[in-house]
Symmetry: C3
Subunit: 277 residues, 3 copies
């Protein structure tokens, strides 16, 4: 058995779960003596054990998403929530440890601005800078991702249709009578500026979006649109379920359960659309 492709069988013993989780935590954290165990030893050693067993042995060990995909999902969710700075730094460092590049991390944090606002994105980048400063082992890129070319509005309209299809066009249409400029910003800024950037592909953006909206728990309509979006740009139902399940550990079980309810509706709607077609 390798650590990166563990069995997800229900029948694994607690000892297996701890050992499997500890191996994975060492890999993500880049530290043979994980700080979470040391720091909890005097006050809540059981929570350290549960973090290893559940967070790493159960959740992060699951197949269905790669470790780099999982780390970028966690980074986006923790940056969006904005209330867990130590863990955000840990998981940015962890993303580097499992093979994410600096630019993927930076692009993911720029993407956060759309779903949780600029302050969340800016504070996420401050955390990233702190981490990057400690990682002299990884070369600094100074050039930025090339800016998208052409008209922002046109470019955004194309991207919106690609990701959200008819649902995205309905959102734009529904805003025309009340806040047409917000519709314009959606096309120009969200889809024309951010989603058109080249540093992160559309599937990675939609995985981060589903992770963030699951963790925030405040935007069920948009979560529905972007579960469709993830499936529209090449994601699978398994990947949707995996990224939602992962959020149980970072934002709590209610967040995951409520997002699963949205996913169930999306999957059923697509099934029935296929049946009608």
């Amino acid at each position: 058995m390798t650590n990166t492709e563990p069995s997800a069988a229900a029948a694994t013993s607690d000892n297996d779960r701890f050992e499997r989780g500890l191996d994975l935590l060492r890999k993500v954290g880049g530290n043979p003596n994980p700080a979470v165990l040391d720091s909890l030893a005097d006050i809540a050693p059981d929570l350290g054990r549960l973090t290893v067993e559940f967070g790493y042995g159960d959740i992060l060990s699951r197949p269905g998403l790669t470790l780099p995909q999982r780390q970028l999902a966690t980074v986006s969710a923790l940056a969006a929530m904005g209330n867990a700075a130590p863990q955000l730094r840990f998981h940015i460092d962890g993303a580097l440890n499992v093979g994410c590049t600096r630019e993927e991390i930076v692009e993911t944090l720029i993407h956060v601005s759309v779903y949780a606002g600029f302050p969340a994105a800016l504070n996420g980048l401050t955390a990233a800078r702190d981490v990057f400063d400690t990682r002299t082992d990884i070369p600094v890129r100074t050039e930025s991702v090339p800016a998208p070319t052409g008209d922002r509005f046109e470019r955004g309209s194309v991207r919106l249709s690609e990701i959200d299809g008819h649902a995205g066009e309905q959102v734009i249409a529904s805003l025309q009578d009340i806040a047409p400029d917000l519709a314009r910003y959606l096309l120009e800024f969200v889809f024309g500026d951010i989603y058109s950037r080249t540093g992160l592909d559309l599937k990675a953006r939609e995985l981060a979006t589903v992770a963030m909206l699951t963790a925030l728990g405040t935007a069920a309509p948009q979560l529905e649109v972007h579960i469709h979006g993830l499936l529209n740009v090449g994601g699978t139902e398994t990947e949707v379920v995996e990224v939602i399940t992962q959020m149980a550990g970072y934002a709590g079980f209610p967040a995951a359960l409520n997002a699963i309810a949205v996913a169930r509706k999306v999957f059923a709607d697509r099934d029935s659309a296929r049946t009608r077609a």
Copy 2:
């Protein structure tokens, strides 16, 4: 009249409210000169006064929950929100001052992992460690709570039925077609690991759960399940209303008002079930 069992009569004068609140704040804060008054004196003295009058004179002085119950509810909610570190430390210290033990506080913070994720629990424990380090007057426990024995899945199934009854089983059943492993984690981790721990009884866990879900405001379906849960494990309707009302001060009035709407539905459902029976 004693300070710990004040009248909640509506007709008390503002002066009574301030005096009653100040006595209680001194008791919770363990400081004859509360810092909240000093620190606001130069910038917003009225907010200091309102904190004492409303927060302590009105809310925390109410009968219906004990001060230790109220402090654990506040600690769980502030840890779950994760955005008020100074107040979290103050109320952990306050919990010790009104008679909570270190292990009750630690158990409450471990319980937070279920509803707000591991980062919230870990940061809560960091706050607890900071506070505990200053409290040489209270002996350090080094042994951990004995781990529950037996099969996690079996143990979790029993606990789930005990707390949530039929509603919990429906949640599990509804996940089988889409995310069966999330259902398994609910049974194994949430109910088998966390709810089966011995350091905090089920009623205290459900009080903390209702406090957290009220404060977060993002999980009405789970709030409904756990208001039932609190009533199922020995809580009263008065206690439900008290813990929700208390959250008005820590998470704002909308959070409390929306949770009361959920409680109203739960109370009515139970009334009509009793009538039918």
Copy 3:
């Protein structure tokens, strides 16, 4: 064209947006070399550019609200979210730079206690104190706003009717069977203590309230009541749309989109009420 009354025309080029945004950012930040550009130069220069273009060139440049109104809305929302301390300090400083007084800022932060709890208000005031300490150019006020006089309950009842009309009375009535004391606190504390204070007029309070409830995204019923409230105390539909649109930059697009959906319902309800009348 002046920088403070820019055209909101859709056809402005990216270069116009950057120049217009940079002028405005310099004015708000009080710094010819905005830190957000410098600090992002090495890690995510494009996010610096997008902040200037979208945040300042598009959003904050819009007509419909004054810069002081916009800064108080941002300050209230960031304090309520409680997860972006650096930006909260920046925008408190920015509020002073565009002409808000210290007391307006303090009153706005006291108002936060109602919608996001006392911890959020207290941490907002800590941020304000930090900023004020650096602003020796602005005289310190030491006297507090005169406390409202008369009976809190009576005063609150009058204020509630003024702001929320029939809807507010329905909220109070609906609580009588389950949590009558919470109804009393709403009248006494929220409307009798806070809304009756003289340092900020009702329209400014309702603008802050709509900003906060949009940003938090957890309280649609109260957002509906307070969009009505803002319109009841002299706000316009344009101002409602503007403050909601502004939140796209501080709390993300889903927050703004979901609040616009609530506003659409409120506007339609008022239209149909007018038609019936």
